[in-house]
Each structure stands twice: as C-alpha cells, then as structure tokens.
Symmetry: C4
Subunit: 194 residues, 4 copies
C-alpha cells in the first residue's frame, strides 16, 4: 500500500488530462455550425475559428508544461491537489470566454477578461509549481529545473499588459496573446532534457 | 489473471475520474457567454459564476476524498461498483442544478433541490465507504481510517438544514453550502497521512 | 515491445471508459434546467429525470459488464477493436434518444426507437464477446465463463418485445426496459468470481 | 526518474484518448432529438445520422491507427507532442463540420470544407509519423513498419479529389469519403502483426 512517486502522481495526471481533454474539445463544440451551407456563412465564423486556434494552442501549452512539471514531481499533498484544481478552475473558464471573444472581438471587455483569466491561470501554474517544490523538499528536481523561471515572469507581464491595453484596442491584446503562445511553443528546455 | 488490489481498483478510478472531469468541465460550458460585449453584461453572469465556483469546489472535494478512499481500498465487488455509480449519479445532477440555481438564485426551490442532491451525494459517499469496508473485511484500512467520521456526519446535518432553511431564505442555504466546502477543504487527515 | 495481455487491452479499456464516461455525463447535460425557479417547474422535468435514471442505469450495466469482459480478455485484434467501436456507436445514440423519449414519453416512436437501439447495443455486446473468444482461442477464459449466456438471450427477447409493444403502449416498453435493468443489476456471476 | 518508452508515451496516449473519446461522443450530442415524437420526425434526422456514422467511423479509424502508431513509438519529444496536438486540432473540427454537413447535405461548401479538414488531418497524421521516426532514430520500428505508406498516399489523393469534386456534386464527395473509410477499415497490417 506504500505508493511510489509515479503512482502517487498518476491519478492527478489522469484527472487533469481528462479535464484538459474536455476543455479543448468543448471549445470546438462552441464553434457553432455556420447558419447557411455557403462559404460566405463559413467566413462569418472566421473570428471564432481564429480565437479557437489561439485558445487551443494556449491549452495545449498548459498540457505540455503540466505534463513536464508532474513528471518531475515526486510527492502529492493536499496542497498540490488543491493548487492543481485551482489551475484547472481558471482553465475551465477559457471555453466560455473563447465563445464570448469570438462573438464580440471588436469590444474591449471580452479581450480584457480573457487576458485577466489567462493571467490568473499563469499565476495558478506558478502556485502549483511552488506547492510541488514544497511537497518534494529542497532537493526537488522541479526546484533545480525551474531556476529563475524567466518565461513565467515574462508571460505574467505580457498578460497584465494585454488586460490593460485591451481598453486602448483589443487588437493589441490579441497580438500579445499570440506573442505568449510563440514564447511557450517549445516546451520548457528546463524539463525537456530530463 | 489474479489482479492485485491496485489494478482491481484502477479502472474504477479511471472511469470515476472521467465522469468527474466531464462533470466539472460541463458546468463551465453551461456558463453561457455574456450576451453583449460589455462588463455590464458580464456582471449579469456573476451569480452563475459564484454558484459555479461553489459547485466546482464541492466536486473537487469529492474528487479528493474519492481519490483517498480508493487508494485505501483493496477489493472491488459488484456492491462497490454500484455504490460508486450511485455516487456518480447524484454528482451528475449537479451541473444542471448549478445552472438552475444560477438563473433563479433568489428562489427557494432551486436552493432546496441543490441542498437535497448534495445530501443524497453525501449519503452515497457514506454508502460507498461502507461497501468498500465490507469488501475488504474487518482489517480494512478504510475502516481503521474512517473511525467515527465526524466530518461526514456534520456535513449531512448541514445539508439537511440547508435544504429545509432554503424555504426561509435561500441565502441561508448558500452560507451553509460554503460552510461545508470550508470544512472539507483540507482532505481527510485520516487518509492523507497514508 | 512485446506487450502483455494487460497492456494490450489497457488502451481499449481507457478509450471505452472515456466514451462511456462522456455518454453518461452528457445525458445529464441534456436534462435542461427547469424554466422557472419553482417546484412546479421542476415537476415538469420529472419524466426526463426518470428516463435519465433508466439510461444511466443501463449504461452503468454496460460499463460493469464491459469491465468484467475485458478483464477476462487476453488478446486484442482488429476485429475486437472494431467490435468494441460498434458497441460504443449504439451506446452513443442513447443520450439523444433519452432526450427524445423524455420530451415525448406518451408517443410510440421514441419508445420503439429506444428499444431498437438497446437491441442493437445488446447484439453488439454479443458480437464483441464472440470477437474476443475468437482472438483468445478455444482456451479462452471468456468462452468458459460465458457458457450458455442465458441473461444475454433473455435481454434480446425482451428488447424485441419492447420495440414491438411500444406500438400498443409505450408504458409496456418502459416496464420491459426496467425489467432488463433489474435482471442485469447484479453483474455477471460468471465473471464476478474471478 | 528515467522513464521507459512505455511510460513516456503513456500520458500522450491517455490525453489523445480523452480528446478522441470526447470528440466521438460530442458528435452524438449534436444529433438533435427529433422535434416531434413521430417516425416522420425521426426520418428528418436521417442525413444527420448518416454523416454521423461516417464521422464516427473516420474518428474510429484514427483512434485505431493512432493506437498502433504510438505502440510502436519509443521516445517522446516536444516535436512529437506538438505534432500530436496538431492532429487533434484538425480532428476537433470534425464534430462541428458533421453538424454543418448534416444540416446542408445538398450544398457544396460543407462537403468541400469537410473534405479539406479530413485532408489536413491526414497530413497531420503523416507529420506525426515523421516526428516519431525522427525522435526514435533510424532504427525506428515505425520507420521499418511504415515502408512506402501506400494507404496514406491514396487517402490524401482521395481527399483532394473529394474537396474539389464537391463543387461538381457533394454526392461524389460523400462516395469518396466512404471509399476512404472502407480502405482503412482494417487497421494497418504493417503494425497489426506486432
């Protein structure tokens, strides 16, 4: 009954994968079918499709980083579990925001709210990292690997900027979201070599 | 073909995780996107968002406790499987009730029904615990660990109160639901040390 | 790279569990929230809720039997995989039929169609059983365990009757569906002792 | 912490299975319940049901081939993970297109778009295969097994034809989609013997 590190993190990974898989697929469900059977009608769905691609990519990045993070983790505690659920909570809001942004992509409120939720998700990821380091102790592989976490800090700054600058123009926000996606596209070198 | 305890409970965990992951994510889908692209329109969704946070937390608590319970379990029987499905049945009603409460949060009927379903889910969890103890026999780790189960009994009493007092004011019920969430927030010390 | 029987059936189980978990949860999503915040409005949802309980139970029975069947299986072939997808196909139609029956429970067509799809699912389960026996060879644990499969044959007969008798009265069909649920409620003794 | 090939691909499989399970089930959800409780009303859903069967079969084929591909894979890299997400992205568009084609099956635009997305998914599968071969090195089991990949090339050609010929008649496209389904129905002999 003494679980090894791997089996200990196993069910957390399985549950997180389940939630992320549903989130990523449900966004596709919220892409409503074009009203008419014409390309013109399909084109009306283009903004929704583009924001869907952005959200799909961002969730994909979280899945990748989460995967690498948990592979380096060794012990589960109540703190780690709640930090993980907290991250999933913010990510679970992305589908409905994707729908909102897709329908009102010229407005400031949806873009700013989308940026704010991404900011909270990024903070939740950092909190999860800290909770895992605390659970594993000072010799944590995660602690060694994370180091100064430049990417994480830069992303936070960009999300703050995107949230604020949405009130100047939502297009600035969209450009900044794409920038973050590009920065994270390659999963973290810190873990990948492991 | 003689499965070990771990592989025996493995698929039950996997299925339960799948159902819980979908439940938690589907609630987010029922958060409808605000009608207009404005913060005023977002604010109209605030009650729905708050009840979503409550339901997300309660499902998260069930996931945590379920996880700890099944890690202490050693044998699967038909009784355990049906007791588990029975628990999932009541939890599966939470998304639609979350939607109902979010839309009519000043009314008594949704709050009372939500309380009643939480009461049934809590009873179903106790039935599942008993079924696992019966399957494992008197030396069950679960039996030793559960002991007098104070938290479980207190939760039942609070859910009964929340269901009845909804007819005085639904706000009393909401306060009681939050109280239960706070009580269970830290997963059960009884299992966590294992 | 030589997979054992367990890892060979592992991903088939995982995928099936995923599909069944989504099916069972999506039905709950199709339970629409009552229109008003009153018990009268909740009562209007009662037929939908009852047919949901029936469908939930039937899917639960399939999950249980599928679980026992695959634990006795040793080899995966293309035939087994397609037989499994064929079963999932029929089961995937149950949510939309549950919604249809719930909305028109006094009509013959929904009840008869529901019975017909259950009949096809039962046939698909028998085909899957045969495919696994063929893959495992004559010494198959499944073959020994199945024996004459009385329950399976009786269920088929009842589904045929329920489909036909829906045209006399859908209530006869509902009574027959409940009968099948009761028959299968205890998972198959043939596998359970294993 | 040195993961074996199997555990390395394990979570990728689990996540992909989750996404594919949700995709396949969500399509069933988009099958709307007939409006009336009559067979005439059910018959109006027939085109939607037929295209659902086609999409279910095509996703099933991807699941089968993906399963065989990943069982032959030994190493995960960032490239493999992104190639896998890229495949899932195209497949995630199939439910909404299935709904669109089902509602406008006599029009050219939905049929052509469906063909185009299937073409992109087929290309994404080839890219994933290449990424796995690159990760595994020249002695890759996948490389040996794939050989000249006749089926893959033929499918690509058929999808191109189906996309273009939709503008002559969507029925030609539907016939071609069914042709591809038949070609792939038996999973790849190249992997199956393994």
């Amino acid at each position: 009954m003494m679980p090894t590190g791997e089996s200990e993190t196993g069910r957390l990974e399985a549950f997180s994968d389940g939630v992320l898989a549903v989130i990523i697929t449900i966004m596709a469900l919220e892409l409503k079918a074009p009203v008419e059977g014409t390309f013109r009608s399909l084109r009306d769905r283009l903004p929704s499709l583009l924001i869907y691609i952005l959200s799909f990519t961002l969730i994909g990045i979280y899945w990748n980083n989460h995967h690498h993070l948990l592979r380096a983790a060794r012990r589960m505690t109540a703190g780690v579990m709640w930090a993980n659920l907290h991250l999933l909570f913010w990510l679970s809001l992305i589908p409905v925001l994707t729908e909102w942004v897709g329908e009102h992509y010229t407005k400031d409120a949806p873009a700013a709210t989308y940026g704010f939720v991404l900011l909270c998700a990024a903070l939740a990821f950092i909190i999860l990292t800290r909770a895992i380091i605390r659970a594993d102790g000072s010799s944590s592989l995660v602690a060694e690997a994370i180091g100064r976490d430049v990417k994480g800090r830069v992303s936070l700054a960009i999300y703050v900027a995107a949230t604020v600058l949405a009130f100047v123009s939502p297009w600035i926000s969209y450009a900044l979201f794409v920038t973050v996606a590009v920065i994270w596209f390659v999963p973290d070198r810190r873990f990948a070599s492991r």
